[in-house]
Amino acid sequence: MRLPRAVVGSAIVVVAALVTVGASSAGSDRDRGGATGLAPVDEPNERFFATGGQFAVECDYSHSARVDPIVWPGRSGRSHRHDFFGASAVDADSTGAALVGSPTTCRQRADTAAYWAPSLLRQGRPVEPAGVTAYYRVAPGVDPADVVAYPLGLAAVAGDAGATGPQPTGVVGFGCGRGGPVSGRVPSCPETKPLELRVTFPDCWDGEHLDSDDHHSHLAYSGRDGCGGEHPVALPRLTLVVHYPMSGDASDVALSSGAPHTAHADFLNGWDEVALGREVESCLERSVVCTIPESARAGR
């Protein structure tokens, strides 16, 4: 096969260009100066190979229900509709402790945590997601040696379901395929790079409360100097990527929580404690890549 030069010119690797583009974005600084930031210090969702440590889990779609065990515990039907991933027996009464050892849709069976996000709607009808990839990493300002595992039962919400305008794309955003930019709008994705929702959770904890009245204030995003102030305990930085089998025109997309800018996701820690502790210690404290999820590899 010899391709004509015109094809080469337009299609060949643009590594040089990538380096130039990347260098400028690497210098961007979204530092909020402390551990009470409303958003991460960088845009964590752009890429899928880590320069530090990571472990990751891949979980199939489990079920959907008008249930939210963090925001509306015990009150089935009160919430907007959510898509659930991970622990498959989640209902309005679920607690982290009860999830340990329960069935999971995750390829990593020790991950019996619950992950959920509002349902994506197209012309008002839910689009069943394919699954999620959950990346556990260390934020740039955090010393990996300081990171501890989430306490069992920790409840975390990332993003604001009540948002009335754009949210920081470092917290929630939509993108196409693996990598690439995230946007507050829902992009029209090519078939080869289907739609994703990417949500990054706060990674500093007050060290005391598994939840808080507003479900946010016991946690915060790390800053350039890591965690501190009222949230001194460094946790892994969880980025949840929800994969939708959807491409093409997205002008008719909404969420069960409202417009696309209401994107958010929830995490209820029900991991096997020993397994989670070992992943945090082995992979994050030691800054080693322990998992390269299928969705981040070529040819999957």
Binding site: R2, R5, A16, A17, R286
Partner: protein, 454 residues
């Protein structure tokens, strides 16, 4: 904190171990001890956690339903019987033995089967060795090293992984040797994304995979481009398997023996390659869907990472959906190739210049058909390459990609062949622990001749 925990565990173990063992070798605190499983420790993990650098974890025959993580440098884990000392993931556990950032760890003479990810996995280490291992029916890779250097895989066997039986990825220079291994019924016999630089793949057997030996490149892992692997003296045959599990990339490569995909400056010498539906040995460009953005910082983890010639001077417009990596500068010499469906030797260029991309060359090979015709005359390794005639009898790569291929069979369900008589590690019960430190000894490539037909 981790150190404190480890010491506490060691303390307990010493207290427990000395009681019944007289302190002769057990306990793991002495630096040259032997920790026996299950005699002294119920699980391999418990022994590994108690081991100090230089210790030997010696595992008796049995089936161990464990996923072992190693975090201590220079521990050696050894089975007393290669086929009968079995780690079994039962399609629930992820990795048989996973070495995370611990340098110099060697694993010897045992079997890992039925793991959802990998049989044996080293990541982020300096110094690693896998000897006399069987990796069977694991969900990603059989024997796997990632972002690791100074390593050896030898006398080992891998079958039934949908990705590669043996894989070394993301290193430059890798300083690694794959010697005397057998890889069959995998998606790929060998795959090495972005791995090269003193990387030797020698004296090994790659048969009945979907494709045989396939170094490759991608921006989704560090250390690109791939370059400088040396592939010598291997038996590569019948890699046309349609009855096993396979990832998409390996599926594209189905029916090829040694396929250099988008890679640079590799040496392929004196291999015997036969019975492939498509090509015996070929250089082809690699299309990469959905390439990653790369920052300048990320080009530094691997020494000498740079932009290859031939991919500069590209307009800085939008990211393309597909990246085409040309294969460049590869030397294919002295191989004996026959029985290929389309061509024993093939060159598929991007046409970066009128001559072969980056000097890809073919010389002194014993081969029948080539694509294009008269390939060795047109792309010689010494002498002047032709500037025309490369379309005459050229591979139609597009058609090869688009052809129908047998669907993957879930790896859990594949009926694998018997591994046969794989050699035992000599003196497994008595040989001293030998962690893998420093650069391995590289093979004397010049002394390797074309192996016989199996």
């Amino acid at each position: 904190m981790r150190r404190a925990v480890a010491l506490a565990v060691v303390g307990l173990v010493v207290a427990a171990g000395c009681g019944d063992d007289g302190g002769s070798s057990g306990g793991g605190g002495g630096g040259d001890g032997t920790l026996e499983v299950p005699a002294e420790f119920d699980t391999i993990q418990a022994a590994v956690d108690a081991a100090s650098p230089g210790d030997l974890v010696l595992v008796s025959p049995g089936v161990y339903q464990e996923a072992v993580t190693v975090e201590t440098d220079e521990v050696v884990i050894r089975g007393l019987d290669r086929a009968e000392t079995i780690l079994d993931g039962e399609f629930e556990l992820e990795n048989g033995i996973r070495v995370v950032g611990a340098d110099g760890v060697a694993v010897e003479n045992l079997t890992a089967r039925n793991y959802t990810f990998n049989g044996f996995f080293w990541t982020g280490v300096d110094g690693y060795r896998g000897s006399y291992l069987n990796a069977i029916r694991n969900g990603d890779y059989g024997v796997y090293a990632f972002e690791s250097v100074n390593g050896v895989f030898e006398h080992s066997y891998a079958a039934g992984s949908p990705d590669a039986g043996f894989y070394i990825g993301a290193c430059y220079p890798c300083n690694a040797v794959i010697d005397s291994v057998v890889s069959e019924w995998n998606g790929l016999g060998y795959s090495g994304t972005n791995a090269g630089g003193d990387l030797y793949i020698v004296n090994s057997v790659f048969r009945d995979n979907r494709a045989g030996v396939v170094p490759n490149v991608g921006t989704y892992e560090p250390c690109f481009p791939q370059r400088e692997a040396t592939i010598v003296g291997n038996q590569v045959y019948r890699n046309n398997n349609g009855e096993n599990d396979v990832i998409d990339f390996a599926q594209l490569a189905l029916g090829n023996g040694i396929l250099l995909t988008g890679v640079l400056d590799n040496v392929v010498e004196r291999n015997r390659v036969w019975e492939h539906d498509i090509t015996g040995i070929a250089t082809v460009p690699l299309p990469e869907d959905d390439p990653q953005e790369i920052t300048a910082d990320e080009l530094t983890p691997c020494e000498g990472t740079e932009i290859p010639d031939g991919v500069v001077d590209v307009p800085e417009d939008e990211l393309p959906d597909t990246l085409l990596w040309p294969a460049q500068g590869n030397r294919i010499t002295g191989n004996v190739v026959d029985g290929s469906g389309l061509a024993d030797l093939a060159l598929a260029d991007l046409g970066l210049s009128p001559t072969p991309d980056g000097g890809n060359c073919f010389a002194d090979n014993t081969a029948g058909s080539t694509a294009p015709v008269d390939l060795q005359a047109k792309a010689p390794c010494d002498g002047t390459p032709a500037t025309a005639g490369f379309d005459d009898g050229a591979l139609d790569v597009g058609a090869l990609i688009a052809r129908d291929k047998p669907a993957p069979v879930p790896y859990q369900e594949v009926d694998l062949p018997d591994p046969g008589d794989q050699p035992e590690m000599p003196d497994a019960a008595t040989a001293p622990a030998r962690p893998q430190t420093g650069s391995p000894e590289f093979p004397d490539v010049a002394a390797i001749s074309v192996p016989p037909r199996a």
